[in-house]
């Protein structure tokens, strides 16, 4: 659709990971400009794009929050529906943390351990590991049990790609497979086992943390910011010897880090009151020392941050050809 009257408030949809940052910015924005508080919908990245790309107009959102980059297919659908100019802004980095209860055994894992424990078919063979000890004799002999986000969430995809995938590719055979048979590689490297090993949860990280508290030998997968806020209950599990700290995620030495984005519908700029100011506020909050840092958002490397700032200022549309 391309109709619908103009709204007098900003509407953003998408990633539950970006949601807490977007809400903070929204509040600050309303405070500073006197505009209405933006409405931020937490639908998940893909769901956000679906609504974002439905068209232009007051009944479609102005901003899509995303915990991954927009896909080519999504970009094309957008274009098909008349959403031609999209501004991409990377607002920062998020870390996907592995954690355990503070009274837990104190795991120290490698990407390969995680892969061998959680892949459905590690290196093409059915997974028979029941305890962590089966995976790596150095690990404690407790049952493998990992609470994580649902298979439909962006965090789940990122976890598969960033940690499992790398654990898999540590094996040269698999790395070779990647070039010869992409589908097979994906099946072998990123297919996860089900319960009771990998236990899907709803999109509720606090629930995962509460469950860890009750199940001290289980691991959990959640956003970095939750780790920070629940230090008394959970502790981080280092992967490849690196703990998910602010610095380690920011400089990329921690494996589970991924970029976060917002996408702005250019056609709405100047029509929906305050949209440009909102973006500016976002950039300000996400900047080095900005208030989003305190909430657990990790600042992007300088070059990326500069591009983002420029994009935001000039409302430069994204070139679809760079997408996958």
């Amino acid at each position: 659709s391309s109709g619908g009257a103009a709204r007098d408030y900003i509407s953003a949809v998408g990633s539950s990971t970006v949601y807490p940052f977007a809400t903070s910015v929204g509040e600050k924005f309303a405070e500073a400009t006197g505009n209405k508080t933006p409405k931020i919908d937490s639908t998940g990245t893909g769901g956000g794009f679906e609504r974002f790309c439905a068209g232009v107009g007051g009944d479609t959102p102005d901003i899509a929050n995303a915990s991954r980059r927009i896909k080519k297919k999504e970009f094309d659908t957008c274009a098909k529906n008349g959403v031609k100019d999209i501004v991409e802004i990377q607002i920062g980095i998020d870390g996907i943390a592995l954690g355990e209860a503070t009274r837990g055994p104190g795991f120290k894992l490698t990407e390969e351990d995680v892969y061998k424990a959680l892949a459905a078919n590690p290196y093409g063979k059915p997974n028979t590991a029941k305890t962590w000890k089966d995976v790596n004799p150095a690990l404690p002999a407790v049952a493998i049990s990992v609470f994580g986000p649902p298979s439909t969430s962006g965090t789940y995809d990122a976890f598969k790609e960033l940690i499992l995938g790398r654990g898999c590719d540590a094996n040269p055979e698999m790395k070779a497979l990647k070039d010869s048979d992409k589908d097979k590689h994906e099946a072998v490297c990123t297919a996860l086992r089900g319960a009771p090993y990998y236990v899907e949860q709803g999109e509720n990280d606090n629930l995962i943390i509460s469950k860890l508290d009750k199940n001290p030998t289980s691991l959990g997968i959640f956003g970095f910011s939750y780790l920070d806020a629940n230090k008394d209950k959970i502790k981080a599990v280092p992967v490849q010897g690196v703990s998910p700290t602010y610095a380690a995620i920011a400089d990329g030495s921690y494996p589970g880090s991924r970029p976060l984005f917002i996408y702005i519908k250019k056609a709405h700029v100047g029509v929906i009151p305050g949209l440009a100011e909102f973006v500016a506020e976002f950039l300000k909050g996400a900047g080095d020392g900005g208030y989003l840092n305190a909430k657990g958002l990790i600042v992007s490397p300088k070059a990326i941050a500069d591009t983002a700032a420029a994009n935001g200022k000039g409302m430069t549309a994204l070139d679809g050809s760079v997408l996958k």
């Binding site: 809400t23 209405k36 508080t37 009944d59 509720n204 208030y291």
Partner: protein, 418 residues
């Protein structure tokens, strides 16, 4: 005695044993029944107890006494404009936040500004707007503590923070009070200013819309089906669809609402209007079923009596049947509404799972509802939201309990016996 068989020997030991066993079974059965009632009651009591235990703290907050000396740190604004609509912004832009943070650091020692809520300065701002005189002097404000301090003060934390809190307490700078903003505000990212009123008002508006649509439609449909409709295939069809709708999983109503109200009619998203319409569709069948039962229990003799003095079928229904069935209809309706009040799943799909920072102004403004607010808060990073979540649950339960109490009252007040 002209019997074909010997009379039963009721006094014999076989019979006496048997009877003793039957009585034992009777006692056991009755005990099971009592047990079932007590068990369900215990579940309920336990749930309520746990909820209230967790949530009561969410209604209070910890405040820290911070003296702010505007003489030392003047706030340069035009006091004449404090009555304007944009006064809030003007003060914010003048840097009041920094002044308050500085004052806190000064009063509470290094890192003192981290002990108060990041929105604490807004309290000072409203105080200034209320009384511009404050700008000329030094005032001690009771500012909301940050959520770590709040939790530490309530739980008695250990470590450095614990020590700080203990010291503040000893100095008499820490106090607790009822957290009024919780009852006045809408959602916020800071638990110190986040409130339930936005969601509560959203729920009230949504339920109101659902009620004014579902109630008349449901009652009229029930009247039609019970009183006028011929019993044929068509009414069977209507009956089956209504019973089925009462059993359809609520999420499916969300799919319908998404397709019809939002994509087709383009009714304002995430608004009480669209939420209410969705819930109306969901509750209408419940109301129809309850109403039909109530209407059925009006004795036919009343209808005969009215017809007998020459009332038309419409008059019979509206003068006699409906008033007599009303208590039953209302109880069914309230119970249906109570369920709608606690419903989340269908509303997920019409965009009500959203951060709404303003109290909804009308039925078309974006809004969320209580269960959704609970759901959203339960996933907040800030630990201060844990008790807010429980407090919100208590608010929801209170609304629910009052609706149920109202139902009981109606039932007992108007119940007619024939």
């Amino acid at each position: 005695m002209n019997r074909q068989t010997a009379p039963t020997d009721w006094k014999g030991s076989v019979m006496q044993n048997r009877i003793a066993k039957r009585y034992a079974a009777e006692r056991r059965f009755k005990l099971f029944g009592l047990g079932a009632v007590l068990l369900s009651g215990a579940f309920l009591a336990f749930l309520l107890f746990v909820m209230v235990g967790n949530g009561a703290r969410g209604f209070t907050y910890t405040h820290v006494a911070v003296p702010v000396d505007f003489k030392a740190m003047p706030l340069t604004i035009d006091t004449a404009r404090l009555g304007d609509a944009d006064a809030n912004q003007m003060i914010a832009n003048a840097g009041l936040a920094d002044i308050v943070a500085f004052a806190a650091d000064e009063a509470l020692g290094d890192g003192g500004s981290a002990l108060i809520s990041e929105n604490a300065w807004k309290e000072v701002r409203s105080a200034i707007i209320d009384d511009p005189e404050l700008l000329g002097g030094k005032t001690v404000f009771d500012l909301p503590a940050s959520s770590e301090v709040d939790i530490a003060a309530k739980d008695g934390a250990k470590g450095a923070l614990g020590a700080t809190v203990a010291k503040l307490k000893a100095d008499g700078k820490l106090g607790t009070g009822i957290h009024w903003p919780f009852f006045k505000n809408a959602d916020a990212t800071d638990p110190a200013v986040a409130g339930i009123w936005g969601a509560l008002k959203g729920s009230i508006l949504t339920i109101f819309i659902a009620f004014i649509i579902a109630f008349p439609t449901g009652v009229l449909a029930a009247l039609y089906l019970e009183e006028y409709a011929a019993k044929n295939r068509w009414t069977d069809l209507i009956e089956v669809s209504i019973n089925n709708l009462a059993a359809v999983p609520s999420i499916i109503f969300g799919l319908l609402a998404l397709a019809v109200f939002i994509n087709w009619f383009g009714i304002c998203q995430a608004s009480p209007l669209v939420g209410g319409l969705t819930l109306a569709l969901m509750t209408m069948p419940v109301i129809v079923i309850a109403s039909r039962n109530a209407i059925k229990s009006v004795p036919p003799s009343i209808r005969d009596a009215a017809l007998g003095v020459g009332a038309s079928p419409v008059q019979v229904v509206f003068h006699h049947v409906l008033p007599l069935a009303l208590p039953g209809i209302l109880t069914g309706t309230i119970i249906g509404m109570a369920r709608a009040l606690g419903e989340t799943a269908p509303l997920l799909l019409v965009g009500m799972r959203a951060f709404i920072g303003d109290v909804p102004g009308g039925i078309c403004s974006p809004s969320t509802v209580l269960p959704m607010q609970i759901f959203l808060w339960s996933d907040e990073v800030d630990r201060g939201f844990v008790e807010k979540t429980s407090a919100a649950i208590i608010v929801l339960l209170i609304v629910l309990l009052s609706m149920n109490a109202f139902a009981i009252y109606l039932r007992n007040k108007f119940e007619q016996r024939w």
